[in-house]
């Protein structure tokens, strides 16, 4: 049996002590590496999303909430803005506007109401099925489709706003038009609909039978120019080719709600000019550059990371000192054993080699464990970061 074999047998025989040492080394290596990689993942996720979104417009309030909502479809609900703000951006001629309505969810995933320009802007491609075609269609992000096991042609019901409020808007059964290509962004975890479909889910738009020809028992008043139906007249909960033409919207479209607007200026100068239009003191909207907001957010996170780094440093030093102690004590405890080995003819160099081999085996086991843990951490990092932070 060679030196390696002897060392291996020794490590296995003293499995408790060996496991403890492997555990200590693993923690020393894993913690700083994992934290560093996680923060890098988080930083790259936030930064790339932010840097690909030139300007955001929303109601004055928390800049962080607006950014989290509009970019990552997460965070606290924010005040809504009227659709005329979309027109306002378009009418400046300085930028193209992309509306976002993020109020509802379906089976846990956010429903994002927007226009086809969003997919062009984010370079999102459909891998299965087709693009949103009409009212009631939805596109699923890669992860949502996989999690819910849905494919084009299937139905997906929006979650009711409040199950205890029977007067609230009805859930809408959407038709899955297609599945988006995996983008490794929050778009993978979202359900996309046309902004008009989002308004149908809001209850602003709906379809129903012709009120003028409805069952008289459902009418409160029927005059030559005016028909008043009771709330008992039911709206369609699914948009089909047969009933789509009965769908209509109530109120002034200029006041229909949006969560935020992505403004894509034609050039840098247009962006600056557009931002300047939102600077007056009585302005009720805010315009922000997501890179600035995310930069601030990352600054805070990195201050926290420095604390973690310091803590990991102290932990590493303490553990290394402990390991040193363990090695010294181990050498003392094994002094007689080494002496015996020497007396039966084992060279001093071979005895040192035996010690080195034992520690190498422990270090290798620790390295393998660190590798496995890091691989697991990295594969779950995006979900983990989103679950922890948003």
């Amino acid at each position: 049996m060679g030196v390696i074999g002897l060392a291996f047998r020794y490590v296995l025989f003293h499995w408790g002590r060996s496991a403890l040492l492997v555990g200590c080394l693993t923690i020393i290596a894993y913690l700083p590496l994992a934290i560093s990689w996680l923060t890098q993942t988080f930083q790259s996720q936030l930064s790339s999303r932010a840097s690909s979104t030139p300007l955001l417009i929303g109601k004055k309030g928390s800049r962080f909430d607006l950014t989290m909502n509009a970019l990552y479809f997460e965070g606290r609900a924010i005040d809504l803005i009227p659709q005329k703000e979309f027109e306002r951006v378009e009418e400046t001629g300085l930028a193209r506007a992309i509306p976002l309505s993020i109020k509802h969810r379906a089976r846990g995933a956010p429903i994002v109401g927007t226009t086809l320009d969003y997919f062009e802007f984010r370079k999102l491609k459909v891998t299965a099925g087709a693009m949103i075609g009409r009212l009631g269609d939805c596109l699923l992000g890669h992860n949502v489709a996989r999690r819910l096991g849905l494919s084009p042609g299937d139905g997906l019901l929006s979650d009711p706003d409040n199950v205890f409020d029977i007067a609230s808007s009805y859930p809408l059964k959407m038709r899955v038009a297609g599945i988006l290509h995996r983008s490794f962004t929050p778009d993978d975890d979202a359900i996309f609909v046309d902004v008009k479909t989002a308004w149908v889910i809001d209850g602003i738009g709906h379809g129903h039978d012709d009120v003028a020809k409805a069952d008289p028992s459902l009418l409160l008043e029927k005059g030559e120019k005016k028909v008043v139906a009771s709330a008992a007249i039911t709206s369609y909960t699914e948009i089909t080719d047969d009933n789509i033409n009965t769908f209509h919207f109530h109120g002034d479209p200029a006041n229909f709600p949006l969560t935020a607007i992505i403004a894509v200026p034609h050039d840098e100068k247009s962006g600056t000019l557009l931002a300047g239009k939102y600077l007056s003191a009585d302005e009720r909207m805010q315009i922000l550059r997501p890179t600035t907001v995310v930069g601030e957010l990352l600054g805070m996170i990195f201050r926290v990371k420095r604390f973690f780094d310091l803590q990991s440093g102290f932990l590493a030093v303490a553990t290394l000192l402990l390991l040193g102690l363990v090695m010294t004590l181990s050498a003392r405890l094994r002094a007689r054993e080494m002496e015996t080995l020497f007396k039966i003819g084992c060279a001093r160099g071979t005895i040192s080699l035996l010690h080195l081999a034992e520690w190498l085996i422990i270090a290798s086991a620790s390295a393998i464990l660190v590798g496995v843990l890091l691989a697991l951490t990295l594969s779950f990092a995006p979900q983990l970061m989103r679950a922890v932070l948003f």
Binding site: S44, S47, S48, S51, S52, T53, P54, E90, R96, A97, I98, T115, L116, D117, E120, F121, R122, K123, A130, M131, I132, G133, R134, L135, D137, A167, D194, K196, H208, V211, A212, K225, K226, V227, V228, A229, S230, A231, I233, D241, I244, N245, F247, H248, H250, G251, V264, P265, H266
Partner: protein
């Protein structure tokens, strides 16, 4: 430095350069490269005609509605939707003209709502049945009057919106687009002048078979009231009752029709002292001629209304 050292240094420099370059995707503009001729979809004939005139050889303009259908009520199939979504430009009349465009998903960056510029002057259809239900309150499904192009001034504004978008799309052709737009504007101005000359003659009560002439009536200063009759259908008893009631307050001698009315309807109207005249709104591509031909013919027909003397020869009505 040995060969391995040089290779390592090169690798290191490569890594630094790559790291420096990888700043993530930058802001994306919503402009796709333009490939001529452009593919442009229009939702009715007037805006398709304006686009054809202004774009000339720069675009292939498609009105995806069969010749015998009313574009306002066209229902696109799945394949139509995909084709329209992929177009370089989608020219819409606006004012809720085509129901399909409000129910379909269209990319706003490639949509031209030609009447948006005068949305403050939109008219609502009078006498529409209003209904209310639930908590949403009263509303009407009849909505906006959408035959905006019948007002020649508005038609010019719609053409201008198309020209502006085309110039933005193909800036290199701006001058040619502008010249072609000027030619169209001149033709539309001539139509306006002809209409004005007629309108200046007299202002007598008029009837319309359908509430589609609101903008034309406002432009020409007509005293116009509408019923809801179709030229190819006999008005039922309700229809005649509605007309009789209307005539009590609005003693019109002419009814303007979108298409040639049935002879029975014409005879019964004549018995009531009402003559018929056709003013084709031309929402779909005409069988012969073009938009200007149709509009000039309409004005020829209208001149019969203004030249008509009740005590003179009997009208050559339809």
């Amino acid at each position: 430095m040995n060969r391995n050292g040089m290779m390592f240094l090169t690798f290191l420099c490569g890594c630094v350069v790559l790291t420096g370059c990888s700043k993530g995707p930058g802001p994306e503009a919503l402009s796709t490269p333009v490939k001529l001729p452009l593919t442009i979809y229009a939702d009715n004939y007037p805006v398709a005609y304006f686009t054809e005139r202004i774009s000339g050889p720069l675009a292939k303009v498609i009105l995806p509605v069969a010749a015998d259908r009313d574009p306002a009520y066209w229902k696109p199939k799945e394949e139509d939707i995909a084709r329209i979504q992929a177009a370089d430009l989608i020219v819409l009349n606006g004012a809720d003209y085509s129901k399909w465009s409000t129910l379909m998903s269209l990319p706003p960056s490639r949509v031209v709502d030609t009447s948006r510029g005068f949305k403050g002057r939109y008219m609502y259809i009078e006498d529409a049945v209003v209904h209310s239900h639930g908590a949403e309150g009263e509303h009407s499904h009849a909505g906006l009057a959408s035959y905006t192009w019948l007002d020649p001034d508005q038609a010019i504004l719609q053409a201008e919106a198309i020209a502006k978008e085309l110039k933005a799309k193909v800036p290199a052709e701006s001058k040619a687009i502008e010249e072609r737009f000027d030619g169209l504007k001149k033709d539309l101005t001539l139509l306006r002048e002809r209409l004005q000359k007629l309108a200046d003659k007299k202002n007598e009560p008029l009837l319309a078979s359908h509430p589609v002439y609101d903008y034309l009536a406002r432009h020409a200063g007509w005293n116009l009231k509408s019923v809801h009759w179709e030229p190819d259908e006999l008005p039922g008893d309700e229809g005649w009752k509605e007309l009789t009631k209307l005539l009590e307050k609005h003693q019109a001698r002419w009814m303007i029709w979108e298409g040639t009315p049935l002879p029975e309807t014409v005879q019964r109207l004549n018995a009531l002292g009402i003559n018929s005249v056709v003013f084709d709104c031309s929402p779909n591509r005409p069988k012969e001629g073009d938009y200007l031909t149709v509009m000039n013919h309409n004005l020829d027909e209208l001149s019969r209304v203004y030249d008509y003397e009740p005590d003179g020869a009997s009208p050559a009505s339809h």
